[in-house]
């Protein structure tokens, strides 16, 4: 792995994770979660686990996000309180 790149991306991932759980707009939380998954996929590719990275890109950033968006669009968009 390339350590500086790895550190930078993991730092960004933590920031995005915090942003995800603190966003009041659920739609933006879901999109942030997609970004999180995608960066995670990049980190794993860079750690040489190609298969997992592949799967995470397809599942985490793709299908999970689509599921979450579908669910948010059918329920409430804003988090209360």
């Amino acid at each position: 792995m390339i350590v500086p790149l790895d550190l930078l991306m993991l730092f960004v991932i933590v920031v995005i994770a915090i942003a995800t759980i603190s966003a009041k707009d659920l739609f933006s939380a879901v999109i942030l979660f997609g970004a999180y998954s995608f960066l995670m996929a990049v980190v794993w590719a860079e750690m040489h686990s190609i298969d997992v990275s592949f799967t995470e890109a397809a599942v985490g950033a793709g299908v999970s996000t689509a599921f979450l968006i579908a669910a948010v669009s059918r329920t409430a968009r804003w988090e209360k309180g």
Binding site: T55, G62, V63, F67
Partner: protein, 179 residues
């Protein structure tokens, strides 16, 4: 739809119908270009799974995501007509039959003389290593079909607003009666 002056009916153009349904030309064109490519890539991933990165699950998910893209671009009503629920159920079962069937055939063939479930018990007219590779490919194909059907039907179920659409239909009917 009646004309503004009330004489005769007025046929909507394709563009007007598209706008009324909340769809967009650019997205439709890009999607219709992308979907075949995505599906081709998905098939590549499924078949290549035994040798390199990828496999049935990933390929199936990519294949399902092409249907999800279709839903996003063209609306869910058309997509449900193109890929009905019964098809999805059938494909799920077909995939599991292939997946479990390979194992079942291996067990049944080797019941008397081999102690373990092993792909080389498959009754195929090829060499030992090839039978193993082909068994793996069959399993990947089965998984791919099941995952595709399951993910698609899950997305349909999550995105399909049965109640609200019924309600809208009901409301429009009631509105018509009042007037």
């Amino acid at each position: 739809m009646t004309k503004a002056d009330g004489t005769g009916t007025y046929q909507l153009t394709a563009e007007e119908r598209r706008v009324a349904a909340g769809r967009d030309l650019i997205i439709e064109v890009i999607a219709s270009l992308m979907i075949p490519l995505i599906q081709l890539f998905a098939l590549y991933v499924i078949i290549h799974g035994a040798l390199g990165a990828g496999g049935g699950f990933q390929g199936g998910v990519i294949l399902a995501s092409s249907f999800i893209l279709y839903v996003i671009a063209f609306g869910i009503t058309g997509a449900r007509k193109r890929l009905p629920e019964s098809w999805n159920t059938g494909l799920q079962s077909l995939g599991v039959y292939i997946y479990a069937g390979v194992g079942l055939v291996c067990i049944l063939v080797s019941l008397g003389f081999v102690q373990y479930l092993n792909y080389w018990a498959l009754p195929l007219p090829v060499a030992y290593e090839m039978r193993r590779a082909m068994g793996m490919d069959f399993v990947e194909i089965g998984i791919g079909i099941t995952v595709m059907a399951t993910m698609t039907s899950l997305f349909f179920d999550l995105a399909w607003k049965e109640k609200e659409e019924r309600k809208e239909v009901k409301e429009s009917n009631e509105g018509g009666e009042k007037k």
